[in-house]
């Protein structure tokens, strides 16, 4: 009994610290950003002017549309690249498949603008590939604009899909696919009727990360986007514009970005909770309670969640918060730092995800993913 009381105290303390961290580092700065967007620039009074302007002017709405289009297209092409890569590296003995995986992770770790820049050196106005092709009479389409952003983003982010999917493909019960084959299904039928539905939560998890990374990506559209404005470049322009900087408008744009991300997260969580069997296979590994984990909370992320989440769901929340709240938070304080922050956050996120994925594949499914949860419980599980 005595021990129990002590345990409860530890939990209370952890919960308190968790909430304190969230309030001080997340909610308060966010509130700041929020406040900016509802203030009149001249008078400082509460107003919806920024929001009216955003939804009222084609200039902003176009950037919003561009952002959505780029994010969706990037997600699509990342899946086109990532799904076959994951499938073939896990199911077939391919020489150098380890090298392939490592290289794709390396691409993830490089800052996004480097990827964009290398595309420019290849296919820019004076790129060597463009010159090579034009010397034999082929004129390539211009790389600047939507096409370039989608190209650079897809090639940068598809490892999110392939890595997460590969982890899932390695852990699903092989006998399910054999059962399908035994019942008369060809390999393609088995793939679409059995394999894909089982790994769908990982796929949507990976797709979600790609979508949000692409939505928030600043480096690529900045370098290769040309006149094609997306929300992050728009927000940057708002902050740094010499004519009339507008932190209120920039904050509004940031909030719109966050709302988009939140909607997508909710959709993905809903989709994967309806189809959560990938981690609920018949022969799933049992998560054993240990003395240590019963007595002490594992500090995971900022808040502890009660329910085990799908590993994919846990990881992108960290990313999401870093990607969005991090820069968003600082945007309210130090407008000039935006670009550097964006780049650094993207890099940090990539590294974290890589480390996390490495851990996940070695520990297999069933482990509680460290991560944040928007439905975080006040009381710890037990």
């Amino acid at each position: 009994m005595n021990l129990r009381g002590k345990r409860a105290d530890v939990w209370h303390l952890v919960t308190f610290i968790g909430f304190a961290i969230v309030i001080v580092f997340l909610i308060y700065p966010l509130f700041d950003v929020f406040q900016y967007s509802f203030k009149n620039k001249e008078t400082g009074e509460l107003s919806l002017a920024n929001w009216k302007e955003f939804f009222g002017r084609a200039y902003y709405m176009r950037a919003f549309g561009h952002s959505m289009f780029i994010a969706l297209a990037t997600t699509f092409f990342s899946m086109v690249l990532g799904i076959p890569l994951a499938f073939f590296t896990t199911r077939y003995k391919i020489k150098g498949s380890n090298l392939l995986t490592t290289l794709s992770v390396l691409a993830l770790l490089s800052p996004t603008f480097i990827g964009a820049y290398s595309w420019i050196t290849m296919l820019g106005r004076n790129g060597f590939l463009r010159n090579l092709f034009s010397s034999i009479g082929i004129t390539l389409p211009p790389i600047y604009g939507a096409l370039g952003i989608i190209l650079a983003d897809s090639l940068q982010y598809y490892p999110f899909i392939s890595l997460m999917l590969a982890g899932s493909l390695m852990t699903i019960d092989r006998s399910l696919e054999e059962a399908s084959e035994n019942l008369g299904a060809r390999a393609t039928k088995t793939f679409f009727s059995v394999t894909m539905p089982l790994v769908l939560p990982s796929l949507t998890g990976g797709a979600l990360i790609v979508f949000m990374m692409s939505l928030s990506n600043f480096g690529t559209p900045m370098i290769i986007g040309g006149n094609y404005l997306v929300l992050p470049t728009l927000a940057y322009n708002m902050f740094t514009s010499e004519v009339g900087e507008s932190p209120g408008m920039a904050s509004t744009v940031s909030i719109i970005l966050m709302l988009c991300a939140a909607v997508v997260i909710v959709l993905q969580t809903w989709a994967s909770s309806r189809r959560k069997y990938a981690s609920m296979l018949v022969n799933r590994p049992v998560v054993k309670k240990t003395q240590g984990s019963q007595g002490f909370p594992r500090p995971s992320g900022l808040l502890l969640h009660r329910r085990p989440l799908h590993p994919a769901v846990g990881s992108h929340r960290i990313l999401f918060l870093q990607e969005y709240f991090g820069p968003g938070v600082q945007a309210g304080v130090q407008p000039g730092q935006l670009q550097a922050d964006f780049l650094r956050c993207a890099q940090d996120g990539g590294q974290q995800l890589y480390l996390f994925l490495r851990g996940r594949t070695s520990h297999r499914a069933g482990r509680n993913a460290p991560g944040l949860c928007h439905r975080a419980q006040a009381k710890p599980g037990g």
């Binding site: 006998s175 399910l176 054999e178 059962a179 019942l183 299904a185 060809r186 609920m280 296979l281 018949v282």
Partner: protein
């Protein structure tokens, strides 16, 4: 009529010889069991029949058709898996209907067959459930119904009961047997559980080291093992290293194990001196019933009372043996440390060649 014919099948995994010179003929409607310890090749053989592996040598016929190069999805075999392999993203109905939808049968036909298959495994009313709402036994019933629904040429069972608890295992094996007999489908059943094999099978093939050791009805396997491996793997048996000695006349021969002296059947033992004598615990008799040969007495080390049987572990002449007394009465179970007298009838003694493990017996017994 032969349902499955296997001739000269060999399968290697790298250096490992998983199957070597397998020859089998399984009759239509027969319940045929592959029995052996883990890693003996029995599952490899089953998976080769299903088409998940391609044998390196030899031929497999299914219902008269040579299926060496037929891919698994065209073989029309119904497999029941050890870990159920029920599709977790489909309902019970969709699971059972899966193979029928793949075959593009008309909707009414699918419904009729699914209903029938579920009735056979007593799962009516569970159509809309998802597998995570089912117990292990129910999931395995779904697996069985799914395999039966496609009306396969042969049902293949890969240790289907080993993940179930003891009581359910007994229940399910009786049901599997009943359904199989009712439908008259040929079944090939893989297990490492010798009791399960004895109960469920029409015939058993005992497999070890990728080779078939013996094929026969359960009675034959138990009562007339062809080698030491089969004798020790199926049922309990006491095995003593003996040196065969002089002929005692009337078909008996001396066998000496240290200070212990036995009279054993001499048929087939000519020219062999180092041998293994084996007898089953339940074959021993009271000394009063014995004809004066093979009387032994040992020190009681431990007893185990199993209801219908009392099993006694005895120490005699440096070896430990186990004997059983059936329908024990009060007073039949002495305290440990006491002497227990018993006799082994010579006709209950199996003699194996110590070097090869082969059974030494009269020719006509083969």
């Amino acid at each position: 009529m032969t349902s499955i014919k296997i001739t000269g099948v060999e399968k290697r995994f790298g250096e490992l010889l998983a199957l070597s010179d397998i020859n089998l003929a399984i009759e239509k409607g027969e319940f045929f069991t592959l029995l052996g310890p883990s890693g003996c090749g029995k599952t490899t053989l089953l998976r080769t029949i299903a088409g998940f592996y391609r044998q390196d040598k030899g031929d497999i016929w299914l219902g008269g058709e040579l299926i060496n190069d037929v891919p698994a999805y065209l073989r029309n075999t119904g497999m029941v898996f050890q870990n159920y392999a029920v599709f977790p993203h489909m309902t019970v109905y969709e699971n059972v209907a899966y193979g029928l939808k793949v075959r593009k049968l008309p909707a009414q036909e699918i419904e009729k067959r699914v209903k029938g298959a579920l009735r056979n495994v007593h799962l009516e009313g569970y159509e809309a459930r998802t597998p995570d709402k089912l117990s292990g036994g129910q999931q395995q019933r779904v697996g069985l119904a799914r395999a039966m629904a496609i009306e396969p040429r042969v049902l293949l069972f890969d240790e289907p009961l080993s993940n179930l608890d003891a009581k359910l295992r007994v229940e399910m094996r009786d049901e599997i047997r009943a359904v199989q007999k009712a439908l008259g489908i040929t079944a090939v059943y893989v297990t490492h559980d010798q009791e399960e094999a004895l109960v469920i099978s029409d015939r058993i093939a005992v497999v070890n080291f990728g080779k078939i050791q013996q094929v026969g009805p359960p009675w034959e396997i138990y009562k007339n093992p062809v080698n030491l491996f089969v004798a020790t793997f199926v049922g309990k048996i006491n095995a003593l290293d003996v040196v065969l000695g002089e002929d005692l006349g009337s078909g008996l021969r001396r066998a000496q194990a240290g200070s212990l002296r036995f009279a054993v059947p001499s048929a087939g033992t000519e020219g062999c001196s180092d041998a293994v004598l084996a007898f089953r615990p339940e074959e021993v008799v009271e000394t009063a019933d014995a004809a004066g040969v093979n009387r032994l007495s040992g020190t009681l080390v431990s007893t185990a009372f199993l209801g219908t049987v009392v099993s006694m572990e005895l120490e005699l002449g440096g070896s430990t043996i186990v004997i059983e007394r059936h329908r024990p009465k009060k007073g039949d179970i002495p305290a440990t440390g006491n002497r227990v007298e018993f006799a082994v009838p010579p006709e209950s003694c199996f003699i194996f060649d110590k070097r090869t493990g082969a059974r030494l017996r009269a020719e006509e017994g083969r």
